[in-house]
Symmetry: C2
Subunit: 264 residues, 2 copies
């Protein structure tokens, strides 16, 4: 079955009519009689592959141009679409930016917000401005992720936590990211833009909610450690500082983020 | 290196002092001289393992009791902690519920909100009440995920999209979920509770933000398809309805979710 998932051909109607390879896109299928999948652990090698994807995934800002094979792109998007979602609402939509002028305009929005964020950072303005966001121009593909209008109708798991649509979309993007690592591609999630301006640029209806600009494509290599750690912006906290037993324990939490964030 | 990631021993100080196996918990390490990881695709078998985890992960509500080996639990939490986060803010905290009375109290909060959600669903009240949330009582482990106070100091990637902390936490939970599938464990993400009441119960400080109650542990099997699809609550949308080119295209989007959600 695993082989079938990875290799299965694409079977459905085209994305926008001009993608012949979409013609056979399919969801993975189980035997109709199966009601459960055995809960056996993966083999050691399979587990290692899953952890490898998790540990080697990076938020990339440097891309090597090139192209993403359409069949690979669809595998990534299908992986994203198999994320969990609250009440199975599937709140993610992916807009593939094919038009070069539109990509330039998105880059422009990011540059505008980059300057505004830098100013708001005060003492760290210069550090921040060193961190270029070239991915929008250089990556083989740019995908805008947005949530559709009408989400307020979904109250299953959202009556008291309406933000669960965002959390679900985060899961979808993480699936895409891990699959991209497995395929040897890099991805960066850019959230430095005015969402209202991006929504207008892409003619989104009222109530749509843009969540990110994903830069995706070939890279020369993945950063050995997270780029923001390499650049001394921040470093990974010890795992223990993330863990508590039973009750919140302020003594276990690392120094307040504000100090770290704005410190030298 | 892959083997090292999966098998590496635990090296740091205890979680709360009473977990001797925490004594050697380590992050995966790269050779200090490495600045990049080659961007070669995974082997076919490795890729298949990653996609298998993505496609076989389920939001589980049925658990088989038992225990989660502590070394496995730490592998899962370490996987979660290696998620991407906006500006590397690492907004996730995991509270392991060890106290039985506390777990009962959390179950009580979920039951209260379940009734309220059912009423709010109107026509689908009965369908919804059929969907039990026994995981909080039956799962080997219960982990509460919450974000710490002080997040407003992090404006990198959040000046215009403050919800990126939630999206990042979603990525961490998805890592945990996929790793749990690889380990042969089930996980369910419960978001049916009053976050204020849960925050008070666990003595969270003002500004902390609970995001979910994760039920984790052995299961008899994974649902062959998502449980809410098996129960005819909702079904997976065709992938093409999630995809657009360049501009928002309302014609490509499936019937409005409200119709689906509240229909028969």
């Amino acid at each position: 079955m695993r082989e079938k998932i990875t290799l299965s051909l694409i079977r459905r109607g085209g994305w926008c009519g001009d993608w012949p390879t979409m013609a056979a896109m399919s969801e993975p299928e189980l035997s109709p009689s199966a009601t459960t999948i055995p809960s056996t652990p993966f083999t050691e090698a399979e587990r290692a592959a899953v952890y490898r994807a998790i540990y080697e995934r990076r938020d990339m800002r440097h891309f090597a141009g090139g192209v993403v094979d359409e069949a690979v792109l669809l595998r990534l998007l299908r992986a994203a679409h198999h994320a969990p979602s609250v009440g199975f609402m599937q709140p993610w939509r992916f807009i593939r930016i094919k038009n070069a002028a539109l990509r330039q305009a998105i880059h422009g929005l990011v540059e505008e917000e980059r300057v505004r964020t830098a100013r708001a950072l005060g003492a760290r303005e210069e550090d921040f401005m060193q961190l270029k966001v070239q991915g929008v121009l250089d990556a083989a593909e740019v995908l805008v992720v947005a949530m559709p209008p009408g989400r307020e109708a979904h109250i299953f798991g959202r009556r008291t936590l309406p933000e669960m649509d965002i959390a679900s979309s985060g899961c979808a993007i993480q699936n895409l990211w891990l699959a991209a690592r497995a395929e040897g591609l890099g991805m960066g999630w850019v959230s430095i833009f005015d969402p209202q301006a991006l929504a207008e640029l892409l003619q989104m209806p009222a109530g749509a909610h843009p969540l990110g600009v994903l830069c995706l494509g070939p890279v020369d290599g993945y950063y050995a450690e997270p780029m923001l750690q390499q650049e001394k912006w921040a470093s990974r906290a010890p795992l223990q500082d993330m863990l508590m037993d039973d009750l919140w324990d302020a003594s276990r939490i690392a120094p307040p983020p504000a100090g770290k964030q704005h410190g030298a």
